[in-house]
Symmetry: C2
Subunit: 325 residues, 2 copies
């Protein structure tokens, strides 16, 4: 990380801390404050600011939509955690565990509403394109979450289906964050499309890293249950490739594990991890991640700006690929 | 109802039927289609159209936000029904019963997203004020739902608190529907505030009618469980007034009924209805409703337009007060 990025992450955190939340009704806003206080990496708003800066825009104008996009991201986490029955997020109980599912539904809804309001706080001249991208993105993110849930109860998911699911669920949001920053800065249509493409590919690489960390990451650093995807029968990139490459015994083990035949969660995680290890899925996933990263970088190259202007963006992309959490 | 209103209700229904919903993922969009197909009164979008027409605007321009506001209303129903554990809506199983709570959460979210997109489909010249009103309204509706849930577990709620709750939960949305229609038509600020005030007061009257129908309505016509509010321990206008006016025995009965001491739902409903009857709460509620209605009409009078232009609006308001469902 460089000073510029650190400074802007601090600025984002301070903006989020200073969001004027109503105090009443407490049952609605306390879970929102809890969720926002618990932090997270704040990568998405950083992307909006960096994209704005890359196109020589005024980052102050990009701050409200940046915050809005982070609020939207937090809303999706709050609702996804209910649907996935996830107990822990960022080393803290999830909202539906700390309170209850109804609270997580409604506080999530108001967080979504706040997100919309902040995203709309852009100059009038760009309000239309910003809202268009934002609305398209939130719809796609819902579609991605639905596919993700659908895949849990399907025995076979092919890799194209998986990539499309994570594109929707994970990759379109960072893409939109970048594009909105670029639009606020007055980027032209072609550049704006290229920065979106860069973000989408980077988002895919990011999700493969996430899949990898879920299995091979350090629980303390990661802030979530390790092996959570295995426990939830998520057909991740790792699982899909192991199932396609494994021998009969390995396939049977994976299919059994993912159809509820192994009741102890820890045993299930260990067995599946064993198969991943034997098939060297660990390294294959890192290679696939690198391939998306390289493609993302190609899109960045297509943007006609001096290399100097792209420096922070490259630092950020690099940081995302090396992250341990 | 007059022909003009009937025609426009038909137009709204046809627009809603023709919303181009994606077919995939089916698990996301089928519940949305189910919810929209089940109908409802479509009063809110009608309000947007009528307000636009009243100010001599082009109703075609008001149709997309009208539809968006109806989608938003349906989103709130889908999520509220989960939180209230309501089994039936419009004579059909609710989405979380027909599918499951996760489906109702996520299909609700995408419905909210679609709502935002449609509300934004207004001419650029009014996009900013329309989005401002809309975002403020959705936040207030969430606050209202939270107060409603909070009140279920409180023994005493005073009438001011109750009115503020229904103002947020129910009345600000019709107010916003009218105001958005007026803004699309180019109404000035004062008229726009007056039509909002009219809608808010009418919304309060509407909710008192709803409280009344929940207890004294005909189940078939109403399309919901009768006595549902009593079963759910909702401190409605009826309950609050009965509790304040009842003698010791009646108060004890109400407090017992609303604190889980009567286990049989039907017995609970009958006992509480008996108290309402003995105290003549039935007529008091209708009087209170009429008082809000009269205040609403005063606000309408303040709008400087020839009486002729207000005719349809008055027919609609009248229709809402006399409704049996």
């Amino acid at each position: 990380m460089n000073t510029f990025i650190e400074d802007h992450l601090r600025l984002i955190s301070s903006e989020i801390e200073n969001i004027p939340l109503e105090s009443e009704p407490a049952g609605l806003y306390e879970p929102v404050a809890y969720c926002l206080k618990n932090g997270g990496k704040r990568i998405r708003p950083l992307m909006t600011l960096l994209a704005c800066d890359m196109f020589d825009g005024d980052m102050k104008l990009a701050m409200p939509p940046a915050i809005g996009l982070e609020l939207f991201h937090n809303f999706t986490l709050m609702h996804d955690d209910i649907m996935d029955n996830a107990p822990v997020r960022r080393n803290q109980p999830t909202v539906h565990k700390q309170w209850n599912p109804n609270t997580a539904i409604l506080s999530g809804d108001v967080l979504f509403a706040l997100a919309c309001r902040y995203v709309g706080m852009v100059p009038d001249s760009v309000l239309r394109p910003v809202m268009d991208i934002y609305h398209q993105t939130v719809i796609e993110v819902c579609e991605g979450q639905q596919y993700d849930m659908d895949f849990e109860s399907r025995q076979v998911v092919n890799v194209e289906e998986y990539i499309e699911m994570i594109r929707l669920k994970t990759a379109v949001l960072p893409a939109a964050c970048l594009q909105i920053g670029a639009i606020v800065a007055g980027a032209n249509d072609e550049d704006s499309r290229n920065i979106y493409g860069f973000g989408e590919l980077l988002g895919l690489a990011f999700q493969l890293r996430d899949d990898w960390l879920d299995v091979f990451g350090d629980r303390e650093a990661f802030g979530k249950q390790t092996g959570g995807d295995i426990i939830a029968n998520k057909k991740t990139w790792l699982y899909i490739h192991a199932l396609s490459l494994g021998n009969t015994a390995q396939k049977t083990l994976l299919l059994d594990a993912f159809s509820g035949k192994i009741h102890d969660d820890q045993e299930k995680v260990n067995l599946v991890k064993g198969v991943y290890h034997d098939l060297d899925i660990h390294h294959m996933a890192l290679d696939a991640m690198r391939a998306y990263y390289d493609k993302a970088m190609e899109r960045l190259t297509q943007i006609d700006l001096p290399p100097k202007r792209k420096e922070h963006m490259i630092v950020l992309a690099d940081m995302l690929m090396k992250r341990e959490k």
